[in-house]
């Protein structure tokens, strides 16, 4: 008797949720480009890209993750070299130089660096004797993160560059760094952020005091972090005063896009009108009005979620959020279930990167985050982003397939 054919042990809920998102993306790209004057037929191109992306994902699944483990450092080195090449031979568009072009394929090396960095960190943290309270254990990963962060931030691509520290923090945490220490380590960043958000240092003072009471660090650590935050608190306001007006304006636009009514601010207001006017059930597929008349710029790329919100209303927008939630939570669950340390850490890094991109894009469309130019994973039009996202999901399925192995 022949053995009964069994489904491969993929994480099927995650795969189906992702497929659902791609389908929603394709149909929304179609809707967003049906307005007069738009580049029609882009959805066909996107469909072809999806075919390629599936192929790439299949490759990512079929190669055993041990290969990624052992190739982590070479991959990382290559990605850094590519990032270094960007300012020299990169393609610039809209004031930033972010792309490399090989033949007709255009891609952002920062996407490759992100995945390579996850491999390297997973490899380092996959160590029984790892103790992340010790300097020589936690410091090198910080440097590994800062190198691509600085290179990407200089392109400039602040949005993508901030995904690197997000991945690092998530993986520190998963690798066992005590949460209090992690927060203490992040305190200078919180310090600066709270200063710019509130305009005073008192907010951070309170948060920091509460944090110290919770963590109760050693005296030496306490002194180091008091000094560090003191220096930051002293330097930031005076640095601010020394900035040129145009530099200040850039930071203000980043924090409050209303400062730039020509560009970012206009997009956000139009996006909010599109989503808000959608109501509970939306205006109906292909019947959105704000996408027309050029009111909603980048409606098939960065602001595709606004079209979903306008045409499908709260119901559609929440469905998309639930599908993303499913992908993310199934991803973290994989990290919990898999027995191999490298695979588990890799899963957390990849899922956290996806989560960061989803949050930054959607919060931007509802006006709660600055305009950073990050596309929405799986939904936005754009071939290479789709391929990279499918590779990320393929790597997660790779882990799912072999979750029993050590």
């Amino acid at each position: 008797m022949a053995t009964r054919w069994k489904l491969p042990a993929f994480d099927w809920p995650m795969a189906l949720a992702a497929l659902g998102l791609v389908v929603i993306g394709l149909s929304t790209v179609y809707s967003a480009t049906t307005v007069p004057g738009a580049h029609q037929g882009l959805w066909v191109k996107q469909l072809l890209w999806f075919g390629l992306a599936l192929g790439a994902a299949w490759l990512a699944v079929s190669i055993h993750y041990r290969a990624y483990d052992s190739l982590a450092y070479p991959l990382y080195a290559i990605s850094i070299l590519l990032l270094l090449a960007v300012p020299l031979v990169g393609i610039s568009a809209m004031g930033a130089r972010r792309w490399l072009e090989i033949g007709s394929l255009r891609f952002q090396p920062s996407e490759i660096a992100k995945i390579a960095m996850v491999f390297v960190l997973a490899r380092r943290f996959d160590d029984r004797k790892l103790d992340l309270t010790r300097f020589r254990h936690w410091f090198p990963p910080l440097v590994i993160t800062l190198v691509p962060l600085v290179l990407v931030a200089r392109e400039p691509d602040l949005g993508t560059s901030l995904s690197f520290p997000v991945i690092l923090v998530a993986m520190y945490f998963w690798a066992g760094m005590p949460p209090g220490r992690l927060l203490l380590g992040l305190s200078p960043v919180m310090n600066v952020a709270l200063f710019f958000l509130t305009g005073s240092l008192w907010w951070f003072g309170g948060v920091f005091a509460a944090l110290l009471a919770f963590v109760r660090p050693k005296w030496s650590t306490l002194l180091v972090f008091l000094a560090l935050n003191g220096a930051v608190a002293y330097a930031v306001p005076s640095l601010w005063d020394h900035l040129h007006d145009y530099q200040k304006r850039r930071i203000q636009v980043f924090l409050d896009p209303g400062h730039d009514p020509h560009g970012a601010g206009y997009q956000i207001i139009q996006s909010r009108i599109a989503i808000g006017s959608g109501g509970v059930v939306g205006k109906g597929y292909l019947r959105g009005t704000q996408k027309g008349l050029a009111f909603l710029p980048m409606r098939h790329t960065d602001f595709i979620y606004s079209v979903v919100g306008e045409e499908w209303g709260l119901a559609g927008a929440l469905t998309v959020v639930l599908l993303y939630g499913l992908v993310i939570l199934r991803g973290y669950r994989l990290a919990l279930l898999t027995r191999n340390g490298f695979a588990s850490l890799m899963a957390v890094g990849l899922v956290s990167a996806l989560f960061y991109h989803i949050m930054v894009n959607i919060l931007m469309t509802i006006g709660w985050a600055p305009v950073t130019g990050l596309p929405l994973p799986l939904l936005s039009y754009g071939g290479t982003a789709l391929i990279v996202n499918c590779v990320q999901l393929g790597l997660l399925q790779n882990v799912a397939l072999r979750r029993g192995e050590y």
Binding site: I275, V280, A317
Partner: protein, 618 residues
């Protein structure tokens, strides 16, 4: 085993931490969606449907332009434009009214334009979502009629925008230039630099070369308009960006000099005149004929009128002072004389074969303008009487390379570097040029005779000729002609250093040349430019040209002992320099240096061009 379980438990704890944080993030999105789509739904529905938000440009006024004494030459004034703003797609009812023939008829009647043009503008506006100007700078009766009918005409609005005003009309039109609305091609090229539809850009003159200083930065505000296209309010969500005005510019131009030049040139059909301060190269006045009124461009020109201005034989938009290249004629003898003297070939007193009205060379007879001949002359005398035969002989002795070098040292044959757009180079032919033109060795030395008296292939712009006179007045000091003295609010601006290195010659050489020029005015060919009590030094020129009658030329500077002004006149196809151009210079100088005139003082300005470090030499 216990350790393993502990580790497993802490891993589970971490999983739940991550899961809760992720869920929290998605919950945050859900809260945002609830707020926008349920709580504020009505607000946004209205904005999307009944009303719509439009980004309106707050146009930045361009900088004003003043003469050196602070007299206003260009500024802005409000223009009331009748504008059509496209309607939101939802109000189909309204949109139907707009394409309705009755609407079209009424609107075209109101803006006094034909309905086909209005239809086209309205179509374009609806396609692009941008407003279209139906009538610029509408007069009061039209405005009143539109205001009255506006409530019945959806989409029609009256907007105020600054337009350019040139209070002196055609005065110095070529130097000031004009500004026009940006076109699609320019917009595509410049949108990165903050230009947007409806902005003005400098198209010629100072308006163009100082565009970056004159243009300000447009502001913007969000306005909520209703389905009738009528403003309801400004949207509080986006604070308006205040427009920043452009920089004001102060010219070296002196209105009194300019007016004197304009008057002297009043009857001229085609030609140009330039007045320059020989102390620093500042342009005191510049006239080109025919002229145009830049105010016409502010009103918006019809295509036919534009064709008329830019084309045809006379081409009024052409600034002949820097874009017209003419044979310099006898004014070039200044160069020939200086070249000969500084080469040491002939002393100021040396004489050549006397002039008998013509000169035989290479089997050809080269005539002097005075058929009866000048007899025997010395160097200053030859300049005084502009004797061709004398200069033929000088030219032959001098040779082509030295003549060419002297001409180039004066800045002929190259751009002077003036801060105005599209300056022409003129032409100084040398050996290489003739070799290329006729083939090596296939041209005769006879060309040298023509060059020595400023004929042949030589071409110079009136500005270059004024610079020639100014350089003689300044005894060879290099000058950078410039029209802008300062840019208010931009302290870093200053005139650039001269392009040429200056003309190197001994003081005795300059004395001889200057003496010859003074004689030419006091008792030679240029007596028509004499001024009581002021010594003028000048040189006439009558240039033959293949296009018709001779061009009349005159260059001069005054007062001869302490020059404050150098002039050049080129009057196309009008006859002799001495009888046509010199009297014009005389009229200008007599007016400026009249004994009872306050204008006698041309205020010296601090040298904005530093030439002290520039090495003397070619």
């Amino acid at each position: 085993m216990l350790a393993y379980n502990q580790e497993k438990r802490s891993k589970e704890q971490r999983f739940w931490t991550l899961a809760v944080m992720a869920a929290g993030g998605f919950a945050l999105i859900a809260v945002g969606l609830l707020r926008l789509q349920i709580v504020q739904h009505e607000h946004y529905r209205r904005l999307a449907q009944e009303n719509r938000v439009r980004l309106e440009v707050l146009r930045a006024p361009r900088g004003a332009i003043f003469d050196r004494n602070g007299v206003l030459l260009v500024d802005n004034h409000p223009s009331f434009n009748i504008v059509f703003s496209p309607l939101p797609a939802e109000s189909l009812e309204r949109a139907r009214q707009v394409v309705h023939p009755e609407w079209l008829l009424r609107v075209s009647a109101l803006v006094e334009s034909d309905s086909a043009a209005v239809t086209e503008l309205v179509r374009a506006a609806n396609r692009s979502g941008q407003s279209a100007v139906l009538r610029r700078n509408a007069p009061f009766p039209v405005l009143a009629a539109v205001e009255e009918a506006r409530s019945e005409l959806p989409g029609i609005e009256v907007l105020v925008e600054p337009i350019r005003r040139y209070p002196h009309g055609a005065l110095a039109a070529h130097l000031l230039g004009y500004a026009g609305e940006i076109n699609d091609r320019e917009l595509a090229e410049r949108s990165q630099r903050g230009y947007q539809a409806g902005d003005l850009v400098g198209r010629s003159g100072v308006e163009r070369s100082y565009e970056e200083f004159l243009r300000g930065r447009d502001g913007a505000e969000y306005v909520v308009v209703n389905a009738m296209g009528k403003r309801v309010s400004t949207l509080s969500e986006g604070p308006p960006l205040a427009p920043e005005a452009g920089h004001d510019i102060v010219l070296t131009l002196d209105l009194r000099v300019q007016q004197a030049l304009e008057e002297a040139m009043a009857g001229v059909l085609r030609g140009a005149a330039v007045a320059i301060d020989p102390r620093d190269g500042g342009i005191l006045g510049m006239v080109s004929r025919p002229a145009f009124d830049p105010n016409e461009f502010s009103q918006g020109l019809s295509f036919a009128r534009w064709r008329q201005l830019s084309g045809g034989g006379s081409n009024p938009l052409l600034n002949r002072a820097i874009q017209g290249a003419y044979p310099p004629g006898s004014t070039f003898k200044i160069v020939t004389m200086l070249a000969a003297l500084r080469a040491g070939m002939s002393q100021a007193s040396s004489r050549h074969q006397p002039c008998a009205g013509s000169y035989a060379f290479g089997g050809r007879n080269f005539g002097c303008w005075k058929r009866s001949g000048h007899g025997s002359l010395d160097f200053p005398g030859a300049l005084q009487h502009s004797c061709d035969v004398y200069f033929y002989q000088v030219g032959i002795k001098l040779g082509l390379p030295r003549l060419e070098a002297a001409a180039r040292a004066f800045g002929l044959g190259d751009r002077t570097g003036i801060d105005l757009p599209q300056e022409r180079k003129g032409l100084v032919p040398g050996r290489a040029w003739y070799d290329k033109r006729w083939g090596p060795g296939r041209w005769r030395r006879g060309v040298l005779l023509n060059l020595a008296i400023g004929q042949g292939e030589l071409l110079a712009t009136p500005l270059q000729l004024a610079l020639l006179a100014a350089t003689v007045a300044g005894e060879g000091r290099p000058l950078r002609p410039h029209v802008v003295q300062s840019v208010r609010g931009a302290a870093e601006f200053h005139a650039e250093r001269p392009v040429q290195a200056g003309v190197a010659a001994e003081p005795v050489v300059w004395d001889a040349v200057q003496h010859g020029l003074e004689l030419a005015v006091s008792s030679g060919t240029g007596t028509a430019s004499r001024v009581p009590e002021v010594t003028v030094a000048g040189k006439t020129g009558t240039a033959q040209n293949p296009h018709g009658d001779d061009h009349a030329l005159f260059v001069c500077y005054a007062p001869a002992d302490q020059p404050v002004i150098a002039l050049a006149f080129v009057i196309e196809n009008s006859g002799h320099g001495g009888s046509v151009a010199a009297p014009m210079a005389g009229a200008v100088l007599r007016r400026l240096f009249a004994p009872d005139s306050l204008d006698r003082e041309i205020a010296p300005v601090p040298l904005s061009v530093d030439t002290s470090e520039v090495l003397r030499g070619d």
